[in-house]
Symmetry: C3
Subunit: 357 residues, 3 copies
C-alpha cells in the first residue's frame, strides 16, 4: 500500500512543521471480473477488492518531542464496482447496524478510525480497529480477499467482530527485538440495567508474536460476549500461525479454534497451509484451507486456492485466482456469488486490476 | 473543472515519483436560489448544482513506462444545500437501491468509481461510470443541470441507468485524428437461476464520434435489459448529436430515440437545438428541447431555456437561468420542485454561484 | 483546529496559482472513555468528540482580485469510536431525516457545506451552516462537547435546528472595528399548496457582537416556523452572552430564552457562567449552567462542570472532565448515556485524547 505523503514541505508552508509530522492521503482501487459456479446457480459479477480491499484513507503523525507522537487513522471501505461504502457497527452487536443499505450505503471509516499516543513504551490507540478475532487472516497469502481467501471459518461466527467499535488498545513498541503484540478491549456500551444482554458486545484479546529475520510466529486469543440465543453466544477464538521466508519462496500456515456458546454450543476448528513463489515481477500462490464445526451434522468445508499476481509497478498489478471448495456435513459454502447445494462443490475465478496510491 | 494537483513534487517527497504520476483532489460547489411555478403549487428552494453538479473527487495517474499508465477516479455527488451525498445502485436494478434516505444519505462515489489500464491501444476501465445511455446530455449547453436542462426524456425510462455499476469499458485512444469512442458492458449480477429476471440490469452500448476542429459529431447506441413489467422492460436508446464552434458563437443539437419494452411498449423521441454566445467574461445560452412518447395519450413536453453565466475567474461564476415547459397528452413535467397539472405549463428561475477547485 | 494547507506552491504546480488561493484538508479526531451514572442505569462507553467534535473537512479560498474572493467549505462529522458519519436534514423538518441509521450512517457534510462570495462589503454564503439558534453555545468553555457541555436547553426544542440546510446568509466584513454579525434565512422548501405546514422549516435570525480587545459581547435572535402540534411549533430563541479575558484567566456567561409554540406553548430560560484558568500547558475549566421551562410541572436541570485540558502541542491534548446534573419538575437529564429517574441526579466523567490536523 503506497501513499501520497502531504509531508513536511507542506506542513512548513502552513507553519505546522516538525521534522516527522505528516498527513497522508492513501487508498487502493481493486476491481475484478468474477465468475462463480455452484450446483444451484452460477454468477458473473464485477467485484471489488479481490486482491486487496478497495479503500480510501487519511492518516497523520505529529511528533510531540521527547520520543512521543500523536497520530490518527481514518480508513473507509470503497466498493469500486458500485461506488458505495461499507457499514460499521455502533456497539458490536446486531442492533448497531440496522439493515443492509445496498446502493445507498455511504462511506464510513469502518475499516479503521483511531487516535493514538505513542512513546517508547508503546501505543495507546482508541477508536475502531481490528479486534483480536481478526488475526486468523494474517498467514493467508490471499489476504482474506477474493475467491482465494482462506476458509478459516464457516457460517459467520466472527465476521461481524473482525473489526470492532469502541476499542481501547495497547500495542507493544517496535523496539523489542522482533517481539510484537497488543492487548485490546472493546465495549458493547450497554446500559447497566440491560439484564442478560448487558455485556453483549464487550470483549477483548491478546496477541503476541516474534519476527526474527525470515521467521515469524504469533499466537492470538480473543473473546466477545453475547447472551446465549439460537444464533448468538460468547465467542472465544484462538489462532496460532507462522511464516518462513526463503529467498524466492515462503511458506505459511495457521491453526484456528473457535468456541461458540450459542444455545446449541459448538466448536469450530480449521486452518490453512500456503506457499508463495516469487518469479520475476510475478508471484504464484497456492493454499489449502479447511474449517469444520461440531454443530449438528458436523459441517465442514475444504478449499484449494491458486493465484498469480503480475506486478506492473510497486503500486499496480494484474492478477488471476482460481479456487474450489468441497462441502460436507450439510455445508453450502459457495464462491463468487454462486449458490451450491448441501455437500456440493463450488468453484470460482477472478481476473482483476489492483492500483494503490 | 479545475483542480489541485498533488503532483510530482509531492510524489518525489514520498519517494514515489515518476515523471507523469499525480493524485488530484477536485470538486465543484454550486448553489442556487431556485423558484418554480406550476398550476398546482409553486416552490422556493436552495438547490445544488444548477450550473454544474456539485461534487468531491480524488483521482490519480501512475506512469507505468512503455506508454502504459494505471489510473483511478473516485467522484462523489455532494448536495451543497444539505451536505448529503447521493446514492448508487449495486446492480442497475430497482432492488439495488432500497429506498430514498433523504438527510441520512452519506457520500458514495456514485458519479464515478473506476480503475483503468491505458496504453496507446486505448483504455480498459472497470467500475461505475456513465453508461452509453448517458450521452443524450452531451450537446446541452446547460449540461443537464438546473432549470434549463434539456427535456430529452419524459418520465424516467433512463434516469436510473445514466450511470451504471459493474461496468467493463474500452475507450478508444486519443491519437486517432479526432475519432473517439467507447464500448461498454454492464452487469446486473443476477444468479443464473433467477428465471425471467436473470438478465435484468445487464446491458451495454457503443459510442463513436469525430471531433475535427470546430466540428464535433457523435452517434451512441445503448441497451439495458429488464423483464417486461408495467414499469420496466428492455430500454434501447439511440442518440445522434453535433456541435459547431464559430469563434464567439456555437450551435449544437441532438436527436434521441428510446424504445421501452414495458408491458405496454412505447417509443420516445426528442431532442434539442441550442446556441451559446460568448460576450466578454459572460456566456448567453438559449435552447429549445422537446420529448414525446407513443404511450397512451401520447404525452409530450416542450421546453425553452435561457441562461447567462458570468465568469468571475476560470474557477468561479455567477449565473442565472430561466426556463418554461409546455405539457400535452397528459404530461405533468414541472420545474424546480413546483407541481403542475396535466397539460399545464410550468416555469422556473435559478440564481446561483458555481466554484470549482 | 490546525490544518494542512495545500497552498500556493501546489496551485502553482497545477497552473491555478494566485497569491492567496489555497485548498485545505483539515480535521479533528477526539476520543474519550466515558462513564455515566444515573439512578436507573450506568453506562461505560468510548465516545467521540468529548473535547472537540471529531470531523473531517475540505475548504478553499480563491482570490478573484479587486478585494473579492470565492470560497467553499465542506465539513463532515466523524464518530471516531465507530467510524460512522452523522446525518443532515434535507428540509429542516422531521420529514427530512427519515430514521436513525446507526452503524450504516455514511459521511455527510452536515456540519457545514457552503459556497461563498466575499468582498469588503461582507460575505454572501449559501448552503448548510449554523443557524442563529446555535449561538447559545459560544460562551461555553466546553464548546458544547462532552460531559461538561452547558445545560442551556432541556429536551430538544432547538437541537434539530442548530445547523440548517438551504440557508442564505450574509456575514458582516471583518474590518468594522470589532463589530461582527450576520443575517441568515433558511428554507423549509415546502410546496405552496402544503397548507398549514407550508412554512415549516422556514426561519432565520440576526446576530450582532462586538469584540474589543479582552472584551466580547453578542446578542442573537433566531426563529424557525412549524405548524403547532404536540411536539412542534414556532421556536423563537434569544441569546445574550459576554466574555472577558484577563491574562491567565477568563470569565464568560450567557442568558438564553426560548419561546416554543407547541400545542401547549411554553417558555424556556437558562444560561451559564464559567471561568477558565490557563496553568502552564494546561487549562482548568469550571461552569455552572441551568435551564428550566414553563411547561407543566416546570422541569428544570442544573449542572456543574469541571474540566482540565493538558496541551501536548498546539494540535494535541489529553483531557479529563467531570459533571453532575440535578433535575427537578420531572426532568430526567442524564449524562454519558446513563439513565436517571425523574428529579434524580446524574454524573459523568470523560478521559480523552484530542488531535487536530
Amino acid at each position: 500500500m503506497k501513499k501520497i505523503a502531504l509531508s513536511s514541505a507542506l506542513l512548513a508552508i502552513s507553519g505546522l512543521a516538525s521534522a516527522q509530522s505528516s498527513v497522508t492521503l492513501f487508498g487502493i482501487i481493486d476491481a475484478a471480473l468474477q465468475r462463480g459456479s455452484g450446483s444451484v446457480a452460477d454468477r458473473t459479477q464485477l467485484g471489488s477488492g479481490a486482491n486487496s480491499s478497495s479503500r480510501l484513507g487519511f492518516r497523520g503523525v505529529e511528533d510531540l518531542g521527547g520520543g512521543m507522537s500523536a497520530s490518527f487513522w481514518l480508513e473507509a471501505a470503497v466498493l469500486v464496482d458500485t461506488g458505495a461504502g461499507g457499514p460499521t457497527s455502533t456497539n458490536n452487536q446486531p442492533s448497531g447496524t440496522p439493515a443492509t443499505l445496498g446502493g445507498t450505503q455511504g462511506l464510513t471509516f469502518a475499516r479503521r478510525s483511531t487516535v493514538s499516543l505513542t512513546s517508547s513504551l508503546g501505543e495507546l490507540r482508541l477508536g475502531r480497529d481490528y479486534s483480536a478475532h481478526y488475526y486468523r487472516y494474517i498467514y493467508d497469502p490471499f489476504g482474506n480477499n477474493g475467491v482465494g481467501a482462506s476458509q478459516t471459518f464457516l457460517g459467520a461466527p466472527t465476521t461481524g467482530i473482525n473489526r470492532v467499535s469502541n476499542q481501547i488498545a495497547y500495542h507493544l513498541p517496535s523496539n523489542l527485538g522482533g517481539i510484537y503484540g497488543l492487548v485490546e478491549y472493546h465495549l458493547g456500551e450497554n446500559a447497566s440495567n440491560a439484564g442478560a444482554t448487558k455485556n453483549d458486545g464487550n470483549g477483548g484479546g491478546v496477541r503476541l508474536g516474534w519476527n526474527g529475520g525470515p521467521f515469524d510466529v504469533s499466537l492470538t486469543q480473543a473473546r466477545t460476549s453475547y447472551a446465549s440465543t439460537a444464533t448468538l453466544g460468547d465467542i472465544t477464538s484462538t489462532t496460532i500461525g507462522a511464516r518462513y521466508d526463503f529467498s524466492v519462496f515462503s511458506v505459511m500456515g495457521q491453526y484456528v479454534r473457535d468456541k461458540v456458546d450459542t444455545a446449541a454450543a459448538f466448536t469450530g476448528r480449521g486452518g490453512n497451509i500456503a506457499g508463495v513463489w516469487r518469479v520475476g515481477a510475478g508471484e504464484v500462490k497456492a493454499m489449502w484451507s479447511q474449517y469444520g464445526t461440531t454443530a449438528a451434522a458436523q459441517p465442514e468445508t475444504k478449499k484449494l486456492s491458486l493465484g498469480y499476481v503480475h506486478n506492473l509497478s510497486k503500486r499496480t498489478a494484474i492478477y488471476g485466482s482460481y479456487a474450489r471448495v468441497r462441502n460436507s456435513g450439510g455445508a453450502t459454502v459457495a464462491l463468487n456469488g454462486s449458490i451450491t447445494g448441501a455437500n456440493q462443490s463450488s468453484s470460482g475465478v477472478d481476473l482483476g486490476i489492483r492500483h494503490a496510491f
